[in-house]
Point group: C2
Chain length 330, copies 2
């Protein structure tokens, strides 16, 4: 469709080499010839074929990013950061979305590899030995964000367990005596990677155990809204707070309470996780934990680029600091 170097060469009656020299202004080309070549290139709107170029020198200068269903908002806000950071270093960013399918994620990663991405950023939904082997077998620099898959792959995350413990401590410091941990991903199929949520669960359990006299409960699965009522039966005198393993779950709880004519935090405390952008628009302001999505993304890109550049890179586990945001729902 577009004109090629060869065609320009033919039209101008010179060799491709000369055309190249003219286009890239390197080496020496006769003034007349150069003008003629540039004129033709412009007229036919020459545009280099980057596939061919990449094929030649083995570099695409492109990174692949695999995103979960963007509607989930979690992680979406990292995309800008990733893009900006990569662009600074001269890389092109290819984002693909896997629409919450385990198999889809694998296929997309494979596709990115076949398209010769120089590195891949991923917040994996898959897990397990087989998936780990798959990733390793690609022999491509990879960095995981959040979910952990392998010690041989650099993972950037926050210390989720510690974060959950801090959350529990904050809740207790406000005088709550009953804590319900809401973690829908626990109901996900076993093959699915819910490392982040498992860590939060672990932190929750440990923190609660340390405090005798506190009652607690765990709700997993996507029907959590329906289980909330049952959870409160028999604890009339206890001050209850919900700790949700993700802000959007907390927002759903908030909506449910509103629908029932109850209010937060008067009738129950509420706390989320992640500090997603939409919270700006929500009232009351949700108490939550910032898991520094932007920071994780930036670090992940930096780390990925290092891995691409350095022959002797060795995989790391990087923990960014989280921050408890004490706002209005506790």
């Amino acid at each position: 469709m577009a004109i090629t170097v060869n065609q320009i060469a033919e039209k101008c009656g010179v060799s491709r080499t000369t055309v190249l020299r003219a286009l890239n202004s390197q080496g020496s080309v006769g003034k007349q010839t150069k003008e003629r070549i540039l004129a033709v290139a412009k007229e036919y709107n020459y545009r280099p074929n980057l596939l061919a170029r990449s094929l030649h020198h083995g570099r695409t200068m492109s990174l692949g990013v695999v995103t979960i269903n963007v509607e989930n908002m979690y992680f979406v806000q990292s995309l800008n950061v990733i893009n900006r950071e990569a662009e600074k270093r001269g890389y092109f960013t290819n984002i693909v979305v896997c629409d919450e399918s385990l198999e889809g994620e694998r296929r997309l990663i494979q596709g990115l590899a076949e398209r010769q991405m120089e590195g891949i950023l991923i917040s994996p939904m898959n897990k397990g030995k087989e998936f780990e082997d798959f990733l390793l077998s690609l022999h491509i620099p990879i960095v995981c964000m959040g979910n952990h898959v392998s010690d041989l792959i650099t993972t950037v995350q926050v210390n989720e367990k510690k974060a959950a413990m801090d959350a529990v401590h904050l809740i207790l410091s406000k005088g709550y005596q009953n804590i319900v941990f809401i973690c829908p991903p626990l109901g996900a199929p076993k093959q699915q990677n819910i490392y982040v949520h498992e860590q939060r669960l672990a932190g929750f359990k440990e923190a609660v155990l340390e405090c005798p006299g506190i009652t607690s409960q765990i709700i997993g699965g996507m029907d959590y809204l329906k289980e909330i009522d049952a959870a409160l039966v028999g604890k009339p005198e206890k001050k209850t707070a919900f700790l949700c393993s993700g802000d959007s779950y907390a927002l759903n709880v908030m909506r449910l309470y509103r629908q029932k004519g109850l209010s937060i935090p008067e009738n129950a405390g509420l706390m989320g996780f992640d500090n997603i952008n939409v919270l700006d628009y929500i009232t009351p302001k949700l108490t939550t934990v910032s898991t520094n999505l932007e920071g994780v993304a930036t670090t992940a890109v930096t780390e990925l680029l290092q891995q691409i550049d350095a022959a002797d890179y060795s995989p790391k586990s990087i923990y960014l600091n989280h921050k408890v945001l004490d706002r209005d729902t506790l």
Copy 2:
């Protein structure tokens, strides 16, 4: 890095042709040879280089999508739809984000073209003759969503003008006598494409003109929150509603009112545009106009694929129907 057909051939002491036949199980290959080849391919994890393949037969089976700053939420929700639709037809989707830079948008489009995308989907931020010429000069199938750039490029949109008129009529039907149209993009640099918002403005003006006795005002620019107070001076007895050219602006107004201790819709009516996903979490439920983002996205992909397949495709203007959502803020 990864092993190539040539290397397999060498290792097995056969020609590439034979290797290919074995890998693709076409043509006939000796049983022994085939086994040997497959074994080596598996051992070294052979993975076809799609750049090379594409270079050969001139097809990448990939679409490019250019997204504005994803934090804006508008349009983000289309990404899933686009991806799903493209995948159904066997296409790979490459998303890139331009981070609200006019120049960045151009560079990315160019980059996608150089990477031989077979078609490009875009909700353009640029406009004008020069940009139009740029797009046309690429000689690649392109479909615009929302913003219009050229009659020679298929554009999928809703009738924004009509939608704005419908919005005004709804507001008036509720007894409001003063309407403030809030449209921050009007303050954007002149080179920026704000076609959608201009259409909404036009619809607003026309609808208001038809109703004598109604007072109205237009606030443009990003400082709209600061101008709201001034706008209400001298209209104490008039029932006022804000019509915002985008849901997020409306959410900001809502927040402002809340901060002042006022409430919506008691102290003022409020209406948005687009029906973005986050509205699900917001109370009171924002009255708005659904501009069918998903529908636009689906249609755009379908149209783009048609354009890729059919040699005789001719550009269209496609209008999807909008829907006024009469909810709780009027």
